[in-house]
Symmetry: C2
Subunit: 391 residues, 2 copies
C-alpha cells in the first residue's frame, strides 16, 4: 500500500479474547436496550461471530445462550466438543449433549433449558428454527441483537476484510487476465480459486476451511442479463460483451466481493450507453454513501436515475448488501430499508441493469463507510477503455 | 455391474414431471393424514425435492406453498425467476416478489399471504425460520410432512443415489491408492474431488453445481480420535494408523458417503482388537437393518456390543443417518428414535469408537433397505488385510 492510501491496513492474525469480549459487550448493550436478560443464537454466522467456531447447519443443533453476565454458554454435540475447544476464542463455557436424536433426558434441549434457567425475557433470532425457538419457555421476543451488533465492524474486522479484499482483488485481476474468446470459463474458476486459496493459506496457515469459500466466475453476454444464471458449466467467453465477472469469497471467515462488466476486443453499440448509465448510477451511490445517509434513499436515488433513462423495468435488485463474517448480510441499501449509514459499516455498491439479448451491466465493490464518506477496499479497472480487453 | 449384482441400476437422467408428481402425491397423503389444507416449506432441501431447483440459504426467502390441489406455488425473488424457470420441473406456479428488503406491499410476505388465502390449518417445518412461520395467520401446526415423504426414496431417487455411490466408490479407491506416508493429505483432496466432479459432468453435463459438493479427506492417526477435526490443513499421512478416510458428496443433488479405517505398512498392536470390535459392531448393524426393524434397537444393539467390550465411553455418535437430496438427514439409527425401517430407505452404517493417543475406528457405507434386508450401494475394502496398504 502507498503511504497515503486511505484504506485500512490488512490484518491476518486470529481474533484474541479482547476482540471477542468487545463483540459480546456490543451484544449485551443491545440486550439491555431491549430489556432482554437472555438471548438464544442458532445462526452459524452469529455463532462464528461470537465464538470463532464455524459450523455448518445440520441436524445436530449448536446453540449459544447469552446472559447479561458470565461466559457465553455454548451447547454442542459431544462429537464436536474437542475441535470446538481448538477453535473457540473468548469467555465460553461448553455444555455438551449426547447426540441428536437422543433418549429422553439426554437431548440438547435439556442443556438449553438449564442455560436459560431463571430467564424472564429471552430474545430469539428471526431466523431461528421453530424447533429451537419452541424450547424457550420464558417470554420469547423476536430480536436480532447479534445481527445488529455485526452491522458496524470492529477495527479488527475491518482489517480482516481489507485482507480479504486484497486477496480477491488479485484474484479478479487474474480472472480478467485469463479471459479469452472461445475458451471455457470453468478452467479459470479452478486456477483463480486455487491462487486465492493458496494466498490465504500462505498468509494464514491455520485458516479455517469451513469458514472459507472462493468463487471466480464470468457470465458471458448470452446469459449476463440473468445475473444468478450459472446453469451451463461449459459456457465460453465470447467476442464482445457485456461479460460480467463475479469474484466473491469468504477468506478465513471474512467476506468480500468484486464484479465488473467487461468486453473482449469490441464493445457492441447496444452496450455503450447502458454501460455509461450503470456507471453513473454507481457514481451516485458512491457519492451518497456517508455517515448519516439513509440506506433507502441511496437506493431510491439510483432508481430515480435509472427511471430517468427509461430503465426502471430493467432493474432486478437493490443497490447493495453488507459484508462481515458472511459475504451477503444485513444491512441493505434498499428502498424500504430505513436505517442510516455509520462509519465502520461495509456495503457492496452494485446497481445493475439487465437486457435480454444484450446482457447485464453491473460493477460491485466492497466499500467501507468512513468518517468522511467511503473508501473501496477492492480494486479493479473502472473505465470502459480499461475493461475492453484486447485478446 | 455383474448380471447378478443385487444393487439397483444407476440413473443419470434428470427427473421428469411424473417423478415430481409422485413426490407431491406422497406429501399430500401426509397432509391429509395430519388434516392440513396447506403446507409451507422453506428448507432448501425440501424445495429442491419438490421443484428440482437448488438454492442456498440467504436473506431473500424462497418459499413453497402446497395446497391440497393445484400447482405448487413457489415464491421467489424476481432476481432469480429466470433460472428458477430453467431448473424447475413439474406443476409449479411461480409467484415473484420484488426484493428483500422491499417497500410495504412489495414484500415476499404479501405473496405468502395470497398463496395461503382461505387456508384453515397450515403445516410448517420444524426448521422453518421464525420470520417465515410468523407470517402464517391461519392455525399453524409444526409438521415435517415433506421431510417424512423423503424417508422412503422413489425408484428414481434410488437409481440416482446408486449413481452417486458409484462415483464416490471410484473416488475412494483413488484416495486409498494415493495414500503414502509423509505426504500431504490436501494434495489428494484436490485430485480426487476433481476426478469425481469430472465423472459427474461426463455422465450429466447439465449437473447443477449448486446441488453438488465433493469431499475426499483422510484423518491421520494423530487426530482420527476426534472425527470432525479437520483443523490442520497441512497434515500428512503417517506410518501405521488408524487413518480414517471420508469421501462424501452430493452428486448433482444426491448424497452418498464412504469411509474406511486403514493403515500404512503396519498395524499398531493397540489397533487390532479395537478394529475387530468396530467391525463386529458394523456386522451387527448390517444384520439388523431390514424392513420392520426398530431404528432405536439397531443402535442399542451396537451400544450393547461396545459396552460388552468396555468401550461405551468411546462412542461419540449414533450408528447412522439417512441420505437423499442431502448427504445427512433423517431418519436416524439412534437410541431414542422410535421409527421402523422400510424398503427404499437408505442409511449410513457407521458405528465408531475413538481413543485419544490411538485413533478412531469407523467404516461407513450408503446402504439401501430392500424387501429382504439391505444392500450397500458403495463398495470398498472390508478386511484389515485389504486395508493395510504396503507403500
Amino acid at each position: 500500500m502507498a503511504p497515503n492510501d486511505p484504506r485500512p491496513a490488512p490484518i491476518i492474525t486470529p481474533p484474541d479474547a479482547e476482540e471477542m469480549a468487545l463483540r459480546l459487550t456490543r451484544v449485551r448493550e443491545r440486550m439491555a436496550a431491549e430489556d432482554l436478560d437472555a438471548y438464544v443464537a442458532h445462526c452459524p454466522d452469529n455463532v462464528f461471530y461470537l465464538t470463532n467456531f464455524a459450523n455448518y447447519i445440520h441436524e445436530r443443533p449448536f446453540v449459544l445462550v447469552i446472559r447479561m453476565d458470565g461466559p457465553i454458554r455454548f451447547i454442542v454435540p459431544q462429537l464436536e466438543e474437542e475441535h470446538v475447544r481448538i477453535r473457540s476464542v473468548g469467555d465460553i463455557e461448553l455444555r455438551r449433549y449426547f447426540e441428536f436424536p437422543a433418549p429422553p433426558g439426554e437431548e440438547w434441549s435439556v442443556q438449553l433449558h438449564d442455560a436459560l434457567a431463571g430467564a424472564r425475557r429471552v430474545g430469539v433470532e428471526s431466523t431461528c428454527p421453530l424447533q429451537v425457538a419452541d424450547e424457550v419457555v420464558a417470554e420469547r421476543v423476536g430480536s436480532d441483537v447479534v445481527d445488529e451488533a455485526r452491522f458496524v465492524k470492529t477495527p479488527y474486522e475491518i482489517g480482516r476484510i481489507a485482507h480479504a479484499s486484497e486477496v480477491i482483488s488479485a484474484g479478479h485481476e487474474e480472472l480478467l487476465a485469463g479471459s479469452r474468446p472461445d475458451t471455457p470459463i470453468i478452467g479459470l474458476f479452478g486456477s483463480v480459486t486455487r491462487s486465492m486459496t493458496g494466498r490465504m493459506l500462505r498468509d494464514m496457515p491455520h485458516a479455517n476451511m469451513l469458514a472459507s469459500d472462493f468463487a471466480a466466475v464470468v457470465q458471458p453476454p448470452s446469459v449476463s442479463h440473468d445475473p444468478h444464471n450459472f446453469t451451463d458449466i461449459f459456457s465460453q467467453f465470447e467476442q464482445g460483451g457485456p461479460h460480467v465477472s463475479v469474484v466473491n469469497c469468504r477468506v478465513n471467515g471474512y467476506g468480500a466481493e468484486i464484479e465488473r462488466t467487461f468486453f473482449l476486443n469490441h464493445v457492441p453499440d447496444a452496450a455503450r450507453e447502458r454501460f455509461d448509465v450503470m456507471l453513473e448510477a454507481r457514481r451516485i451511490a458512491f457519492e451518497g454513501l456517508r455517515p448519516g445517509a439513509s440506506m433507502s434513499a441511496i437506493d431510491q436515488n439510483v432508481r430515480d436515475h435509472f427511471e430517468k433513462h427509461g430503465y426502471l423495468d430493467h432493474l432486478l435488485h437493490r443497490t447493495g448488501h453488507s459484508f462481515g463474517v458472511t459475504g451477503h448480510e444485513a444491512p441493505f441499501l434498499a428502498v424500504g430499508y430505513d436505517r442510516v449509514a455509520e462509519p465502520g459499516m461495509l456495503f457492496s455498491i452494485e446497481p445493475g441493469i439487465y437486457f435480454e439479448g444484450v446482457g447485464g451491466f453491473r460493477f460491485s465493490d466492497t466499500v467501507l463507510v468512513t468518517e468522511s464518506g467511503n473508501v473501496s477496499l477492492t480494486t479493479a479497472p473502472e473505465t470502459l477503455e480499461e475493461l475492453t480487453l484486447e485478446r
